[in-house]
Protein backbone atom coordinates (compact mmCIF):
# COMPACT_ATOMS: atom_id res chain seq x y z
CA UNK A 1 0.00 0.00 0.00
CA UNK A 2 2.82 2.32 0.98
CA UNK A 3 4.59 1.68 -2.33
CA UNK A 4 1.51 2.58 -4.36
CA UNK A 5 1.20 5.91 -2.61
CA UNK A 6 4.90 6.54 -3.14
CA UNK A 7 4.60 5.73 -6.84
CA UNK A 8 1.66 8.08 -7.24
CA UNK A 9 3.54 10.86 -5.48
CA UNK A 10 6.60 10.35 -7.68
CA UNK A 11 4.48 10.44 -10.85
CA UNK A 12 2.74 13.55 -9.62
CA UNK A 13 6.07 15.24 -8.91
CA UNK A 14 7.32 14.33 -12.39
CA UNK A 15 4.18 15.77 -13.93
CA UNK A 16 4.59 19.02 -12.01
CA UNK A 17 8.23 19.27 -13.09
CA UNK A 18 7.20 18.72 -16.71
CA UNK A 19 4.67 21.53 -16.57
CA UNK A 20 7.08 23.84 -14.75
CA UNK A 21 9.78 23.27 -17.36
CA UNK A 22 7.25 23.86 -20.10
CA UNK A 23 6.38 27.24 -18.59
CA UNK A 24 10.05 28.17 -18.22
CA UNK A 25 10.70 27.27 -21.87
CA UNK A 26 7.73 29.24 -23.19
CA UNK A 27 8.67 32.30 -21.15
CA UNK A 28 12.26 32.12 -22.42
CA UNK A 29 10.93 31.95 -25.97
CA UNK A 30 8.91 35.09 -25.34
CA UNK A 31 11.98 36.98 -24.10
CA UNK A 32 14.04 35.78 -27.05
CA UNK A 33 11.34 36.75 -29.51
CA UNK A 34 11.28 40.25 -28.01
CA UNK A 35 15.01 40.74 -28.48
CA UNK A 36 14.75 39.49 -32.08
CA UNK A 37 12.57 42.50 -32.86
CA UNK A 38 15.41 44.77 -31.85
CA UNK A 39 17.79 42.87 -34.12
CA UNK A 40 15.59 43.66 -37.12
CA UNK A 41 15.09 47.28 -36.10
CA UNK A 42 18.85 47.75 -35.87
CA UNK A 43 19.21 46.27 -39.36
CA UNK A 44 16.82 48.90 -40.62
CA UNK A 45 18.73 51.73 -38.98
CA UNK A 46 21.92 50.50 -40.61
CA UNK A 47 20.44 50.21 -44.09
CA UNK A 48 18.83 53.63 -44.27
CA UNK A 49 21.96 55.81 -44.63
CA UNK A 50 23.00 53.69 -47.64
CA UNK A 51 19.62 54.21 -49.24
CA UNK A 52 19.68 57.94 -48.69
CA UNK A 53 23.17 58.18 -50.21
CA UNK A 54 22.21 56.17 -53.29
CA UNK A 55 19.08 58.18 -53.84
CA UNK A 56 20.40 61.69 -53.13
CA UNK A 57 22.14 62.11 -56.48
CA UNK A 58 18.96 61.51 -58.45
CA UNK A 59 16.40 63.12 -56.22
CA UNK A 60 17.98 66.52 -55.69
CA UNK A 61 14.62 68.24 -55.51
CA UNK A 62 13.20 65.92 -52.91
CA UNK A 63 15.27 67.22 -50.03
CA UNK A 64 12.27 67.49 -47.76
CA UNK A 65 11.38 63.81 -48.02
CA UNK A 66 15.00 62.74 -47.63
CA UNK A 67 15.34 64.92 -44.57
CA UNK A 68 12.18 63.45 -43.09
CA UNK A 69 13.65 59.97 -43.39
CA UNK A 70 16.98 60.93 -41.80
CA UNK A 71 15.20 62.81 -39.04
CA UNK A 72 12.76 59.99 -38.30
CA UNK A 73 15.60 57.51 -38.11
CA UNK A 74 17.55 59.65 -35.65
CA UNK A 75 14.52 60.10 -33.43
CA UNK A 76 13.69 56.40 -33.45
CA UNK A 77 17.22 55.50 -32.43
CA UNK A 78 17.11 58.03 -29.60
CA UNK A 79 13.76 56.95 -28.19
CA UNK A 80 13.95 55.52 -24.71
CA UNK A 81 10.55 54.33 -23.54
CA UNK A 82 8.74 51.52 -25.38
CA UNK A 83 5.75 53.66 -26.27
CA UNK A 84 7.87 56.49 -27.74
CA UNK A 85 10.00 53.95 -29.57
CA UNK A 86 7.01 52.32 -31.20
CA UNK A 87 5.63 55.71 -32.19
CA UNK A 88 8.93 56.85 -33.74
CA UNK A 89 9.29 53.56 -35.56
CA UNK A 90 5.87 54.10 -37.06
CA UNK A 91 6.87 57.54 -38.28
CA UNK A 92 10.03 56.11 -39.84
CA UNK A 93 7.95 53.54 -41.71
CA UNK A 94 5.72 56.31 -43.03
CA UNK A 95 8.70 58.38 -44.15
CA UNK A 96 10.18 55.39 -45.99
CA UNK A 97 6.88 54.69 -47.72
CA UNK A 98 6.77 58.28 -48.98
CA UNK A 99 10.32 57.94 -50.26
CA UNK A 100 9.57 54.71 -52.13
CA UNK A 101 6.43 56.21 -53.63
CA UNK A 102 8.46 59.14 -54.91
CA UNK A 103 10.98 56.90 -56.69
CA UNK A 104 8.15 56.09 -59.09
CA UNK A 105 8.70 59.52 -60.64
CA UNK A 106 12.37 58.97 -61.40
CA UNK A 107 12.84 56.33 -64.13
CA UNK A 108 16.64 56.56 -63.98
CA UNK A 109 16.51 55.94 -60.28
CA UNK A 110 14.14 53.04 -60.67
CA UNK A 111 16.50 51.37 -63.12
CA UNK A 112 19.53 51.78 -60.87
CA UNK A 113 20.63 48.35 -59.66
CA UNK A 114 21.94 49.64 -56.35
CA UNK A 115 18.69 51.33 -55.54
CA UNK A 116 16.66 48.27 -56.56
CA UNK A 117 18.73 46.07 -54.32
CA UNK A 118 18.43 48.51 -51.44
CA UNK A 119 14.70 48.69 -51.98
CA UNK A 120 14.49 44.91 -51.80
CA UNK A 121 16.59 44.90 -48.63
CA UNK A 122 14.46 47.58 -47.01
CA UNK A 123 11.22 45.88 -48.05
CA UNK A 124 12.54 42.68 -46.59
CA UNK A 125 13.63 44.43 -43.40
CA UNK A 126 10.20 46.01 -42.98
CA UNK A 127 8.72 42.53 -43.40
CA UNK A 128 11.20 41.05 -40.96
CA UNK A 129 10.33 43.64 -38.33
CA UNK A 130 6.67 42.82 -38.84
CA UNK A 131 7.23 39.06 -38.71
CA UNK A 132 9.42 39.26 -35.63
CA UNK A 133 6.62 41.20 -33.91
CA UNK A 134 4.15 38.60 -35.12
CA UNK A 135 6.32 35.80 -33.80
CA UNK A 136 6.67 37.62 -30.50
CA UNK A 137 2.88 37.83 -30.23
CA UNK A 138 2.55 34.15 -31.17
CA UNK A 139 5.04 33.24 -28.42
CA UNK A 140 3.16 35.41 -25.93
CA UNK A 141 -0.06 33.68 -26.91
CA UNK A 142 1.36 30.17 -26.36
CA UNK A 143 2.84 31.21 -23.02
CA UNK A 144 -0.33 32.94 -21.82
CA UNK A 145 -2.47 29.99 -22.82
CA UNK A 146 -0.25 27.73 -20.73
CA UNK A 147 -0.42 30.18 -17.82
CA UNK A 148 -4.19 30.29 -17.88
CA UNK A 149 -5.37 26.77 -18.77
CA UNK A 150 -5.94 24.03 -16.25
CA UNK A 151 -3.91 22.35 -14.74
CA UNK A 152 -0.80 24.33 -15.67
CA UNK A 153 -2.38 27.48 -14.23
CA UNK A 154 -2.07 26.00 -10.75
CA UNK A 155 1.66 25.53 -11.14
CA UNK A 156 1.98 28.91 -12.82
CA UNK A 157 0.30 30.45 -9.79
CA UNK A 158 2.51 28.64 -7.29
CA UNK A 159 5.76 29.58 -9.02
CA UNK A 160 4.64 33.07 -9.97
CA UNK A 161 4.64 32.87 -13.77
CA UNK A 162 2.97 36.06 -14.93
CA UNK A 163 1.23 36.66 -18.22
CA UNK A 164 3.14 38.66 -20.83
CA UNK A 165 1.84 41.58 -22.86
CA UNK A 166 1.19 41.55 -26.57
CA UNK A 167 3.00 44.01 -28.81
CA UNK A 168 0.53 46.72 -29.77
CA UNK A 169 0.82 48.93 -32.81
CA UNK A 170 1.16 52.59 -31.90
CA UNK A 171 -1.84 54.77 -32.70
CA UNK A 172 0.17 56.50 -35.43
CA UNK A 173 0.80 53.17 -37.14
CA UNK A 174 -2.89 52.42 -37.51
CA UNK A 175 -3.61 55.56 -39.52
CA UNK A 176 -3.26 55.13 -43.29
CA UNK A 177 -0.01 56.87 -44.26
CA UNK A 178 -0.42 59.92 -46.48
CA UNK A 179 1.85 59.99 -49.50
CA UNK A 180 2.26 63.42 -51.01
CA UNK A 181 3.62 63.33 -54.54
CA UNK A 182 5.15 66.66 -55.47
Amino acid sequence: MFWIILLVLVLLAMYVIMIYNGLVTLRAQVKNAWSQIDVQLKRRYDLIPNLVEAVKGYMGYEQETLQKVIQARAEAMKASSMATRAEKEGMLTEALKSLFALTENYPDLKANQNVLQLQEELTSTENKVAFSRQFYNDSVMSYNIKCETFPSNIIAGIFNFLKEEFFQAAEGDRAVPKVSLR
Binding site: Q29, A33, Q36, Q40, Q117, E120, E121, T123, S124, N127, K128, F131, S132, Q134, F135, D138, S139
Partner: protein
Protein backbone atom coordinates in the same frame (compact mmCIF):
# COMPACT_ATOMS: atom_id res chain seq x y z
CA UNK B 1 -18.30 29.92 -43.54
CA UNK B 2 -15.22 31.59 -42.17
CA UNK B 3 -12.65 29.25 -40.61
CA UNK B 4 -9.61 30.41 -38.72
CA UNK B 5 -6.30 28.91 -39.80
CA UNK B 6 -5.91 27.55 -36.27
CA UNK B 7 -9.14 25.58 -36.63
CA UNK B 8 -8.15 24.41 -40.10
CA UNK B 9 -4.89 23.11 -38.67
CA UNK B 10 -6.60 21.32 -35.79
CA UNK B 11 -9.04 19.63 -38.15
CA UNK B 12 -6.27 18.49 -40.45
CA UNK B 13 -4.17 17.15 -37.60
CA UNK B 14 -7.14 15.18 -36.25
CA UNK B 15 -7.80 13.71 -39.68
CA UNK B 16 -4.21 12.63 -40.32
CA UNK B 17 -3.94 11.12 -36.82
CA UNK B 18 -7.06 9.09 -37.49
CA UNK B 19 -5.62 7.91 -40.79
CA UNK B 20 -2.31 6.86 -39.25
CA UNK B 21 -4.26 5.04 -36.55
CA UNK B 22 -6.10 3.28 -39.36
CA UNK B 23 -2.84 2.16 -40.87
CA UNK B 24 -1.40 0.95 -37.60
CA UNK B 25 -4.62 -0.99 -37.00
CA UNK B 26 -4.32 -2.54 -40.43
CA UNK B 27 -0.72 -3.54 -39.80
CA UNK B 28 -1.57 -5.02 -36.41
CA UNK B 29 -4.61 -6.80 -37.78
CA UNK B 30 -2.50 -8.41 -40.46
CA UNK B 31 0.05 -9.54 -37.95
CA UNK B 32 -2.59 -10.95 -35.62
CA UNK B 33 -4.64 -12.70 -38.27
CA UNK B 34 -1.70 -14.20 -40.08
CA UNK B 35 -0.21 -15.29 -36.79
CA UNK B 36 -3.57 -16.82 -35.84
CA UNK B 37 -3.62 -18.97 -38.94
CA UNK B 38 -0.55 -20.64 -37.52
CA UNK B 39 -2.04 -20.57 -34.04
CA UNK B 40 -0.02 -17.74 -32.52
CA UNK B 41 -1.55 -14.28 -32.92
CA UNK B 42 0.86 -12.54 -30.57
CA UNK B 43 3.96 -13.62 -32.43
CA UNK B 44 2.22 -12.52 -35.59
CA UNK B 45 1.67 -9.03 -34.24
CA UNK B 46 5.22 -8.77 -32.93
CA UNK B 47 6.53 -10.04 -36.24
CA UNK B 48 4.61 -7.35 -38.11
CA UNK B 49 6.14 -4.62 -35.96
CA UNK B 50 9.63 -6.09 -36.35
CA UNK B 51 9.33 -5.93 -40.12
CA UNK B 52 8.11 -2.34 -39.90
CA UNK B 53 10.95 -1.49 -37.52
CA UNK B 54 13.56 -2.98 -39.81
CA UNK B 55 12.28 -1.18 -42.88
CA UNK B 56 11.99 1.97 -40.85
CA UNK B 57 15.56 2.01 -39.67
CA UNK B 58 16.85 1.56 -43.19
CA UNK B 59 14.64 4.23 -44.78
CA UNK B 60 15.22 6.74 -41.99
CA UNK B 61 18.94 6.98 -42.60
CA UNK B 62 19.11 6.21 -46.31
CA UNK B 63 16.63 8.55 -47.97
CA UNK B 64 17.26 12.26 -47.48
CA UNK B 65 20.18 13.53 -49.57
CA UNK B 66 19.39 11.91 -52.89
CA UNK B 67 16.21 13.85 -53.62
CA UNK B 68 17.99 17.14 -54.02
CA UNK B 69 20.62 15.75 -56.38
CA UNK B 70 17.95 13.89 -58.35
CA UNK B 71 16.22 17.16 -59.13
CA UNK B 72 19.39 19.00 -60.17
CA UNK B 73 19.06 21.57 -57.41
CA UNK B 74 21.86 24.05 -56.74
CA UNK B 75 22.33 25.62 -53.34
CA UNK B 76 22.25 29.41 -53.34
CA UNK B 77 23.37 32.14 -50.96
CA UNK B 78 21.90 35.61 -50.34
CA UNK B 79 24.07 37.18 -53.06
CA UNK B 80 22.88 34.79 -55.76
CA UNK B 81 19.20 35.61 -55.31
CA UNK B 82 18.58 38.22 -52.61
CA UNK B 83 14.79 38.23 -52.88
CA UNK B 84 14.37 34.46 -52.56
CA UNK B 85 16.84 34.30 -49.69
CA UNK B 86 15.16 37.24 -47.95
CA UNK B 87 11.74 35.63 -48.26
CA UNK B 88 13.03 32.38 -46.74
CA UNK B 89 14.58 34.44 -43.93
CA UNK B 90 11.26 36.22 -43.36
CA UNK B 91 9.48 32.90 -43.02
CA UNK B 92 12.23 31.65 -40.75
CA UNK B 93 11.54 34.59 -38.45
CA UNK B 94 7.78 34.14 -38.58
CA UNK B 95 8.01 30.42 -37.79
CA UNK B 96 10.89 30.37 -35.32
CA UNK B 97 12.52 27.55 -37.29
CA UNK B 98 16.25 27.34 -38.01
CA UNK B 99 17.25 28.65 -41.43
CA UNK B 100 16.87 25.92 -44.08
CA UNK B 101 19.28 25.54 -47.01
CA UNK B 102 17.97 27.28 -50.10
CA UNK B 103 18.14 25.66 -53.54
CA UNK B 104 17.21 26.71 -57.07
CA UNK B 105 16.26 24.24 -59.81
CA UNK B 106 16.74 25.19 -63.47
CA UNK B 107 13.32 24.59 -64.98
CA UNK B 108 10.63 26.63 -66.68
CA UNK B 109 7.91 24.70 -64.87
CA UNK B 110 6.89 26.61 -61.73
CA UNK B 111 7.13 24.45 -58.62
CA UNK B 112 8.74 24.17 -55.20
CA UNK B 113 9.45 21.54 -52.56
CA UNK B 114 10.81 21.07 -49.07
CA UNK B 115 12.82 18.20 -47.69
CA UNK B 116 14.52 17.08 -44.47
CA UNK B 117 13.36 14.86 -41.61
CA UNK B 118 13.60 17.61 -39.01
CA UNK B 119 13.96 21.41 -39.02
CA UNK B 120 17.70 21.28 -38.29
CA UNK B 121 18.39 19.33 -41.47
CA UNK B 122 15.98 20.95 -43.85
CA UNK B 123 16.03 22.51 -47.30
CA UNK B 124 13.64 24.32 -49.62
CA UNK B 125 13.97 24.36 -53.39
CA UNK B 126 12.20 26.45 -56.06
CA UNK B 127 12.40 26.39 -59.84
CA UNK B 128 13.57 29.31 -61.95
CA UNK B 129 10.14 29.13 -63.59
CA UNK B 130 8.49 29.84 -60.24
CA UNK B 131 10.80 32.78 -59.56
CA UNK B 132 9.96 34.26 -62.94
CA UNK B 133 6.19 33.93 -62.68
CA UNK B 134 5.29 34.87 -59.12
CA UNK B 135 5.35 38.26 -57.44
CA UNK B 136 6.80 38.76 -53.98
CA UNK B 137 3.61 38.02 -52.03
CA UNK B 138 2.91 34.87 -54.03
CA UNK B 139 6.48 33.62 -53.60
CA UNK B 140 6.20 34.31 -49.91
CA UNK B 141 3.04 32.18 -49.76
CA UNK B 142 4.74 29.27 -51.53
CA UNK B 143 7.81 29.42 -49.27
CA UNK B 144 5.52 29.60 -46.24
CA UNK B 145 3.75 26.45 -47.46
CA UNK B 146 7.02 24.59 -47.95
CA UNK B 147 8.43 25.65 -44.59
CA UNK B 148 5.17 24.59 -42.99
CA UNK B 149 5.84 21.08 -44.27
CA UNK B 150 9.15 21.24 -42.40
CA UNK B 151 7.49 22.74 -39.33
CA UNK B 152 4.79 20.08 -39.24
CA UNK B 153 7.32 17.30 -39.73
CA UNK B 154 5.44 16.22 -42.86
CA UNK B 155 8.49 14.75 -44.50
CA UNK B 156 8.97 12.50 -41.48
CA UNK B 157 5.22 11.80 -41.47
CA UNK B 158 5.31 10.73 -45.10
CA UNK B 159 8.32 8.51 -44.40
CA UNK B 160 6.46 6.75 -41.59
CA UNK B 161 3.42 6.24 -43.79
CA UNK B 162 5.60 4.87 -46.59
CA UNK B 163 7.32 2.49 -44.17
CA UNK B 164 3.99 1.15 -42.99
CA UNK B 165 2.68 0.70 -46.50
CA UNK B 166 5.92 -1.05 -47.44
CA UNK B 167 5.73 -3.34 -44.43
CA UNK B 168 2.12 -4.21 -45.10
CA UNK B 169 2.99 -5.03 -48.70
CA UNK B 170 5.97 -7.12 -47.64
CA UNK B 171 4.07 -9.11 -45.04
CA UNK B 172 1.14 -9.66 -47.35
CA UNK B 173 3.44 -10.81 -50.13
CA UNK B 174 5.34 -13.21 -47.87
CA UNK B 175 2.11 -14.65 -46.50
CA UNK B 176 0.54 -15.19 -49.90
CA UNK B 177 3.69 -16.91 -51.08
CA UNK B 178 3.78 -19.16 -48.05
CA UNK B 179 0.22 -20.32 -48.71
CA UNK B 180 1.29 -21.76 -52.02
CA UNK B 181 3.41 -24.34 -50.26
CA UNK B 182 0.11 -25.47 -48.77
CA UNK B 183 0.90 -25.67 -45.05
CA UNK B 184 -1.90 -26.32 -42.57
CA UNK B 185 -3.68 -23.89 -40.28
CA UNK B 186 -7.14 -22.88 -39.04
CA UNK B 187 -9.36 -22.79 -42.13
CA UNK B 188 -11.46 -19.72 -41.16
CA UNK B 189 -8.40 -17.77 -40.21
CA UNK B 190 -6.80 -18.73 -43.50
CA UNK B 191 -9.66 -17.23 -45.46
CA UNK B 192 -9.64 -14.05 -43.40
CA UNK B 193 -5.87 -13.80 -43.68
CA UNK B 194 -5.93 -14.27 -47.44
CA UNK B 195 -8.57 -11.58 -47.84
CA UNK B 196 -6.60 -9.23 -45.66
CA UNK B 197 -3.35 -9.97 -47.45
CA UNK B 198 -4.95 -9.31 -50.81
CA UNK B 199 -6.73 -6.11 -49.85
CA UNK B 200 -4.35 -4.62 -47.34
CA UNK B 201 -1.65 -3.21 -49.61
CA UNK B 202 -4.25 -1.43 -51.74
CA UNK B 203 -6.11 -0.06 -48.71
CA UNK B 204 -2.86 1.05 -47.16
CA UNK B 205 -1.88 2.92 -50.33
CA UNK B 206 -5.27 4.63 -50.49
CA UNK B 207 -4.87 5.66 -46.85
CA UNK B 208 -1.37 6.88 -47.54
CA UNK B 209 -2.56 9.12 -50.37
CA UNK B 210 -5.44 10.40 -48.24
CA UNK B 211 -2.94 11.31 -45.53
CA UNK B 212 -0.77 13.09 -48.06
CA UNK B 213 -3.72 15.18 -49.25
CA UNK B 214 -4.67 16.04 -45.69
CA UNK B 215 -1.14 17.21 -44.93
CA UNK B 216 -1.26 19.45 -48.00
CA UNK B 217 -4.35 21.18 -46.64
CA UNK B 218 -2.55 21.47 -43.30
CA UNK B 219 0.48 23.04 -44.96
CA UNK B 220 -1.80 25.59 -46.67
CA UNK B 221 -3.40 26.53 -43.35
CA UNK B 222 -0.01 26.73 -41.64
CA UNK B 223 1.27 28.93 -44.45
CA UNK B 224 -1.58 31.37 -43.78
CA UNK B 225 -0.63 31.37 -40.11
CA UNK B 226 2.88 32.41 -41.06
CA UNK B 227 2.13 35.08 -43.65
CA UNK B 228 -1.33 36.15 -42.36
CA UNK B 229 -2.01 36.63 -46.08
CA UNK B 230 -4.13 33.88 -47.68
CA UNK B 231 -4.36 35.79 -50.97
CA UNK B 232 -0.65 35.36 -51.73
CA UNK B 233 -0.76 31.58 -51.59
CA UNK B 234 -4.13 31.38 -53.36
CA UNK B 235 -2.87 33.47 -56.25
CA UNK B 236 0.33 31.42 -56.45
CA UNK B 237 -1.56 28.09 -56.56
CA UNK B 238 -3.74 29.44 -59.32
CA UNK B 239 -0.78 30.59 -61.41
CA UNK B 240 1.13 27.33 -60.93
CA UNK B 241 -1.85 25.15 -61.85
CA UNK B 242 -2.51 27.14 -65.00
CA UNK B 243 0.99 26.76 -66.29
CA UNK B 244 1.53 23.93 -68.74
CA UNK B 245 5.27 23.39 -68.75
CA UNK B 246 6.18 19.91 -67.48
CA UNK B 247 8.74 19.47 -64.74
CA UNK B 248 11.25 17.03 -66.20
CA UNK B 249 13.03 16.05 -63.05
CA UNK B 250 10.02 14.92 -61.00
CA UNK B 251 8.93 11.30 -60.87
CA UNK B 252 6.56 9.10 -58.88
CA UNK B 253 8.94 8.85 -55.96
CA UNK B 254 9.24 12.60 -55.48
CA UNK B 255 5.86 13.90 -56.66
CA UNK B 256 4.44 14.20 -53.13
CA UNK B 257 7.14 16.67 -52.14
CA UNK B 258 6.13 19.40 -54.61
CA UNK B 259 3.59 22.12 -53.89
CA UNK B 260 1.38 21.18 -56.83
CA UNK B 261 1.60 17.65 -58.20
CA UNK B 262 4.02 17.90 -61.13
CA UNK B 263 2.85 14.71 -62.83
CA UNK B 264 -0.90 15.11 -63.07
CA UNK B 265 -2.57 16.98 -65.86
CA UNK B 266 -3.02 20.58 -64.91
CA UNK B 267 -6.70 20.95 -64.33
CA UNK B 268 -8.24 22.58 -61.30
CA UNK B 269 -10.34 19.55 -60.45
CA UNK B 270 -7.89 16.75 -61.17
CA UNK B 271 -7.66 14.35 -58.28
CA UNK B 272 -8.57 10.79 -57.43
CA UNK B 273 -7.95 8.25 -54.66
CA UNK B 274 -4.30 8.01 -55.65
CA UNK B 275 -3.48 11.72 -55.81
CA UNK B 276 -0.83 13.00 -53.45
CA UNK B 277 -2.32 16.49 -53.64
CA UNK B 278 -5.90 17.72 -53.31
CA UNK B 279 -7.42 19.37 -56.39
CA UNK B 280 -6.40 23.02 -56.64
CA UNK B 281 -10.04 24.10 -56.61
CA UNK B 282 -10.52 22.48 -53.18
CA UNK B 283 -7.38 24.16 -51.86
CA UNK B 284 -8.56 27.55 -53.14
CA UNK B 285 -11.93 27.07 -51.47
CA UNK B 286 -10.20 26.22 -48.19
CA UNK B 287 -8.09 29.37 -48.50
CA UNK B 288 -11.26 31.30 -49.30
CA UNK B 289 -12.70 30.18 -45.99
CA UNK B 290 -9.62 31.57 -44.31
CA UNK B 291 -10.22 34.95 -45.90
CA UNK B 292 -8.70 34.89 -49.40
CA UNK B 293 -10.61 36.61 -52.19
CA UNK B 294 -10.96 33.73 -54.63
CA UNK B 295 -13.81 35.08 -56.73
CA UNK B 296 -11.55 35.82 -59.70
CA UNK B 297 -9.63 32.55 -59.34
CA UNK B 298 -12.46 30.03 -59.64
Amino acid sequence: MRVSFYQAQTDNIHNSTAMIAGMVTLLTAMGVVIGATYGDALTGALGAFTVAGGMGTYTWFAGAGTILSMSGAKQVSHDVHPQLFNIVEEMKIASGLPMPKVYIIESEAPNAFATGRDPEHSAVAVTTGLLAKLNRDELQGVIAHEMSHIRNYDIRFAMIAAIMVGSIALISDAFLRSRRSGRGGHPVMIVVALLLAALAPLSATILQMAISRQREFLADASAVELTRNPDGLASALYKITHDDKPLDTANRATQHLYIVNPLKSFSMKSSNLFSTHPPTEARLRALGQMGADISRLL
